[in-house]
Each structure stands twice: as structure tokens, then as C-alpha cells.
């Protein structure tokens, strides 16, 4: 690990920045329940489409603990809010709020930060039901980030395995496996995704849907990789160190897994990191069409989905598009990391 970090640092600032941003994002997603100021499904109907709250530190020329004002709805149709500056509501740590279950088992009414009612702390605004967007994005990250990671791991193990076996053993095995992958590849992936989803009933529990999406996404992702890995294995198996390994009696499977496939890692790792965004977008696309993660569970995809077809949201509540920014941020970081990992895993650079 230490070696990995030194090498990563040697790859320049952006590589390290990409890596640490992702570590931070995954940590945030992991501890989502600790960080949010409201439960992700708490509806505050009187505060629908509240814009991101302003946090003040000055009052009448005096520096105070950061505080907010209560907002009052002055235009129920246009959703216009006005700050009521008569009373300050300082931001408190471990503030009391609605009782909720943390990590599914720990009942508590404390939040890492918050303000006392009737003021609200909506860092990134609220949606049409008055749910806190910040809390929803943080909790949605759990789903979007984990789906992409698990999906990518599944499909890449499968792709490496298929491509490796196919390329190394060749012959009939190769023919059968490659024709199978080609059948999968002839379908446009988005329609394949839709039809796979359509096989299963619409009313599934959220856990089932989650698993289903992971499986669907990884099922679509492996074919292209398998083809490329097969090609690489075809060329690597002619390398002389493979012959040398055979000449000392190393078995075929060991040669494949320990000598050939590791030599495809420099490509595969880059491809993995570049594919992760595809999974996030894939999940978002399914959710966008209403067949992915179901409300009230948030995912970056379905937060965005709620804005679709509603021009008023785009013009009056642009903060609803912030999950898109989150997706963008993750994609950029994965791309930076992918570039760096290629050189980190190449012994020639050590």
C-alpha cells in the first residue's frame, strides 16, 4: 500500500488528487448516515423547492457562529422564499432532529449538524416534496458508487476469465465462447439493458432491484472486455516467457492466471476505471426511466429523473441538477485515476 502511494504520487498531482477524491467520496458514501442533516425521505411540504440556504456569519457588523435565518414562503405558486432576519438560528453540532434509524439498526435523533426548527439547513436546497437534496445526494452516492464498483468487479472478472480462457486455449473453446460474446454484443447495450429489466417484475423490493441492476449492468459490460482480453492473451501467449514457464513445467492454468492475465492488467485496470462511469450512467439511465432504484430511495439517477420533462424545475430550481455534477465529479476522478493506475501497475516505471 505504501509502495502504491509513493508510485501514485510520482504520477503527478492530478493522479493523487483523483485517487484521494475517490477515497473521500467512497468514505462519504459509507458514512452517509452520519453526515446528513435530515433523513433522505423526510418530507417538509412547507419547504418545497427551497433554494440552497444562505449561511451567514455576520450580523449587524458582528461576527457570530455561522447561522441561518428562517425562510418563509411568500409566493406559494412561484415558490419564492424570504429570509426572516428577526431571529438567528445558529448551526449546531449534534443537533436534535427527527428520530431515525442509523445504518438500519441504531435509533437516534441526533444529527452531525443542524439548526433548530422552524429554520432549515438545506445546503443544496430541497426538491418538490421538500426533501433535503444534500442528504439525498449523499445517500444516493451509496447506491451509485457501490453499484458501479460491484458491477465493474463482476463484469471484469467474468470478462477476464472468458477472454483469458478463450485466447489461451483457442480452438473449439475459443469459437464457442467468442460466438457467445458476439451474440451479446450485437444488441445495442441500452436496449439489452431495458429488455433484461423487462424480464423481471416491476414490483420488487429495493434490495432486489439493487441486486438486479448490478447484475444487469455487469452482464452487459463483460463482452467487449472479453474480446479485447482474448486478443491480448493471443499475443501474450506467444511471448517467450510463456514458453519458458512451460519449459519448467508450470501448468496451463497457472500460466494463464499468473503469467498471462497479469500482463493484461495495465490495459484492464485502465479499462475498469474508465468503465465505472458507464455503470453510474447506466444506473442513472435505468432510474431515469423509472425502472431503476425506486422512490423514496435516492440514487443520483432518480434524483435527476424527477426533473425530467419539467422545464420549470430547470429554470426555477436548478439545484435539482446537482447529482449530475456529482456524477461528473466522480467520472473525472475515475479518469484521472485510470490514467495513473496504468503507469503505477507497469513495472517498467518502478
Amino acid at each position: 500500500m505504501k509502495i502504491f502511494l509513493t508510485r501514485l504520487n510520482a504520477c503527478g498531482f492530478f493522479a493523487a488528487a483523483g485517487f484521494w477524491s475517490l477515497v473521500a467520496l467512497y468514505l462519504i458514501a459509507l458514512c452517509a448516515d452520519l453526515l446528513i442533516p435530515y433523513p433522505y425521505d423526510l418530507q417538509m411540504r412547507d419547504r418545497a423547492f427551497h433554494p440552497p440556504i444562505r449561511i451567514h456569519i455576520m450580523e449587524k457588523g458582528q461576527v457570530r457562529i455561522p447561522f441561518v435565518y428562517q425562510s418563509t414562503l411568500i409566493d406559494p405558486v412561484g415558490k419564492k422564499y424570504q429570509e426572516d432576519t428577526s431571529q438567528r438560528y445558529p448551526i449546531r453540532l449534534f443537533a436534535q432532529g427527527v428520530e431515525r434509524k442509523m445504518f438500519g439498526f441504531w435509533k437516534t435523533d441526533r444529527y452531525l449538524f443542524g439548526v433548530s426548527e422552524p429554520a432549515g439547513i438545506h445546503l443544496l436546497g430541497t426538491d418538490m416534496y421538500g426533501r433535503d437534496i444534500f442528504s439525498r445526494i449523499v445517500c444516493g452516492g451509496r447506491i451509485s458508487l457501490s453499484i458501479s464498483l460491484i458491477g465493474v468487479i463482476l463484469s471484469f472478472s467474468f470478462g477476464m476469465l472468458t477472454g483469458g480462457i478463450s485466447g489461451y486455449f483457442g480452438g473449439v473453446i475459443d469459437q464457442i465462447m467468442m460466438r457467445a460474446t458476439e451474440i451479446l454484443m450485437v444488441f445495442p447495450s441500452f436496449y439489452l439493458m431495458l429488455s433484461l429489466r423487462a424480464i423481471f417484475p416491476l414490483s420488487l423490493s429495493s434490495v432486489q432491484i439493487y441486486l438486479l441492476i448490478v447484475v444487469i449492468l455487469s452482464f452487459i459490460g463483460w463482452a467487449g472486455l472479453a474480446r479485447i482480453i482474448r486478443g491480448m492473451v493471443l499475443s501474450i501467449r506467444e511471448e517467450e516467457y510463456v514458453l519458458a514457464a512451460r519449459s519448467v513445467g508450470v501448468s496451463h492454468w497457472r500460466i494463464l492466471f499468473f503469467h498471462i492475465l497479469p500482463n493484461t492488467f495495465s490495459y484492464a485496470i485502465t479499462a475498469v476505471t474508465l468503465a465505472v462511469p458507464g455503470y453510474i450512467v447506466g444506473e442513472a439511465a435505468l432510474s431515469l426511466l423509472g425502472i431503476g432504484i425506486q422512490e423514496p430511495y435516492p440514487s443520483w439517477g432518480n434524483i435527476l429523473a424527477s426533473t425530467v420533462g419539467n422545464l420549470r424545475i430547470l429554470s426555477d430550481a436548478p439545484w435539482m441538477l446537482l447529482p449530475g455534477l456529482a456524477i461528473f465529479f466522480v467520472l473525472v476522478n475515475f479518469n484521472l485515476l485510470g490514467d495513473a493506475l496504468r503507469s503505477v501497475f507497469d513495472p517498467k516505471n518502478w
Binding site: E239, E240, Y241, L243, A244, A245, R246, S247, V248, G249, V250, S251, R254, F258, H259, P262, N263, F265, P347, K348, W350
Partner: protein
């Protein structure tokens, strides 16, 4: 001396073309058999067929290889597993491409030892590392961090870590400079004496073979035209050409004359006779000296070997 390896009229073909044509040779315990020939004469093919690792497209079509009483051509995959790297191991020409770039050299030697089921592969690897005079600090280096000579030492260490009976060295010094060549050769010689190894040394450098070998075999276009001990006088005109190869030998292997009924070397032979064009030379034997040339017919010490009875 005990015979370790005996190859009898081994033939290998690639489609219609014979890569090896009825090659017979024997290697005894502690012997260094130098196989000399130009590029394309079939040296490496011979070495690879010993390990049954011929590249796809090449097929064995006759002959037999007996290694310590076992017929390698009939050996099962399991038997081959116990022979490769344990009984017969190989050192290759270009060390940098024969080491996997992703693993430390130490790990690669350990793996070889582990493949043979060594009780303590790591210890065996470290010991082998010392035997080839490599400082232990390079044990955890990656192949590209070592020089060519050091890489070749690593290759030798991993070839010898399982104490094989026969070492095939396929042009182990071709990629190295003169001084490193000397070092590697003296190392091989030392290790050979230490472990009473038999060595099949493949080279295209005949003077080097003369210094190193106990027996020399000359391979020309897939035929072993002469095999002799360095002490005796060679007879075949091709051996003479190779030995004094200030001359340009290029093209000797490339021209195609599969229609030729006589000696394969006929076209280029400075001492050719009419008979050579018409009739394929027999193999003439004199003790351990074998030569496939009509020239030997006139020498009283040589007696012809009947090819048809060879397999008997």
C-alpha cells in the same frame, strides 16, 4: 559413461518442409554436446522437441527420443510435467524476453522451484541465486532492472534450481557481449562439473563450441551432417566452412532445392563430386565420430551405417 539422452532419427516437419530430417544423437552423463548450425538449421526446433514444446504448425513425424530410459515422444502430460524443469531444463537465447516483466526475478526462480514441489522453494531459490554468483540484493529486482548478463544468470539459476540431469542451453550467449559470454560460459562449465550435468549447448559459434564441448554436432538444414569430438579432425566440408567462416555463408539455408536427390549441401560444397548430386550420402561411423558425406567413404577408419537398420 551412462547415456542420458538418445535421439534416433528424429524428424519434424512444417507442412511439406522438413525442419529436422532424421537427426540422431546421444548425450552421456557429464557431457557437453554442442549443436552448431546456422540460423534456421533447426537447432531450436530440436531443443523444443525434447521438451515437447514445438510451436503449433510443427509436427513430429518419426523417430524417438529416449531420456533416461523414458520415451519422451510417448510420455503423457503428467510424465512431461515431471520432466520439464525438473529433469530437463532450458536456458533461452534472449534472457530479457524469457523473464516475465511483471514479477521479481527471485519470485520467478521460486516459482520454478515450487513447480517441482520443493519443500522450501524460497531457500532453494536463494541458494540457486548464489550459485550463479548473483548478489542477493538483486533477488527482488524486476527483470528490466538487471543487465543482460545478470538476466541470463537468473535464467540459469532458475534452470538449475531443481537440479536437472540435462540442461538445454539455446544460444545462451548470443545476446551478450564477449566478456559476459566468457563469464556465462565459465559459470556453466563450473556448474556442469559441480552437479555432473549433461548439457546440450546450442550455438552458431563453432570456435566457441570447440573450447567448450566434449562433442560437437553440426546441423545443416535439419540434418546432422557431422558429429565428432573436438579432439578429432572433422571431415565434412560444411564443418570446415563453418570453422573458417570468415566467408560469407549467407543464403546457404535459404535456397530451396527440395527436388535435389543427393546431398543437401551439394550446391555450395567446395569439394563436391558427381556422386554427391545423385546419391544421398550415407552416415559413416568411426567410433563416436559420425559424418554424412561421401568423403568419409575413402577413409579406412569409417564404416557406413545402413540407414534402414538405424531404428533397429
Amino acid at each position: 559413461m551412462k547415456k542420458i539422452l538418445s535421439i534416433t532419427s528424429l524428424s519434424v516437419r512444417h507442412r511439406e518442409r522438413m525442419i529436422l530430417n532424421r537427426v540422431s544423437l546421444e548425450i552421456c552423463e557429464g557431457e557437453v554436446f554442442c549443436l552448431v548450425g546456422e540460423s534456421g538449421s533447426g537447432k531450436t526446433t530440436l531443443a523444443l522437441s525434447l521438451l515437447r514444446l514445438l510451436p503449433p504448425g510443427l509436427s513430429l513425424c518419426g523417430g524417438s527420443i529416449f531420456f533416461m530410459g523414458k520415451d519422451l515422444l510417448k510420455a503423457s502430460a503428467k510424465e512431461l510435467f515431471y520432466i520439464r524443469g525438473k529433469e530437463i531444463s532450458m536456458v533461452f537465447q534472449e534472457p530479457s524476453s524469457y523473464l516475465n516483466p511483471l514479477f521479481t526475478v527471485g519470485y520467478q526462480i521460486i516459482e520454478t522451484a515450487a513447480a517441482a514441489g520443493a519443500s522450501n522453494p524460497e531457500e532453494a531459490a536463494i541458494q540457486a541465486f548464489g550459485e550463479v554468483d548473483l548478489p542477493l540484493k538483486f533477488f527482488k529486482s524486476y527483470p528490466h532492472q538487471l543487465s543482460g548478463g545478470m538476466q541470463q544468470r537468473v535464467a540459469i539459476a532458475s534452470a538449475l534450481v531443481n537440479r536437472p540431469r540435462l540442461l538445454i542451453a539455446d544460444e545462451p550467449t548470443t545476446a551478450l557481449d564477449v566478456i559476459t559470454t566468457e563469464q556465462i560460459l565459465s559459470l556453466l562449465d563450473y556448474l556442469r562439473k559441480k552437479f555432473s550435468l549433461s548439457v546440450l549447448f546450442i550455438t552458431h559459434n563453432l570456435p566457441l563450441a570447440f573450447r567448450f564441448a566434449t562433442k560437437i554436432g553440426i546441423l545443416y538444414r535439419g540434418e546432422l551432417v557431422e558429429s565428432f569430438s573436438p579432439a578429432s579432425q572433422y571431415i565434412h566440408p560444411y564443418t570446415a566452412l563453418l570453422f573458417g567462416s570468415g566467408k560469407n555463408l549467407a543464403g546457404y539455408c535459404s535456397s530451396d532445392d527440395s527436388t535435389l536427390t543427393g546431398c543437401t549441401f551439394y550446391q555450395f560444397c567446395p569439394e563436391r563430386e558427381r556422386r554427391c548430386a545423385e546419391e544421398k550420402p550415407k552416415i559413416f561411423l568411426s567410433g563416436t565420430h559420425a559424418v554424412q558425406c561421401w568423403k568419409a567413404a575413402s577413409q579406412s577408419s569409417f564404416s557406413p551405417l545402413d540407414r534402414n537398420n538405424e531404428n533397429a
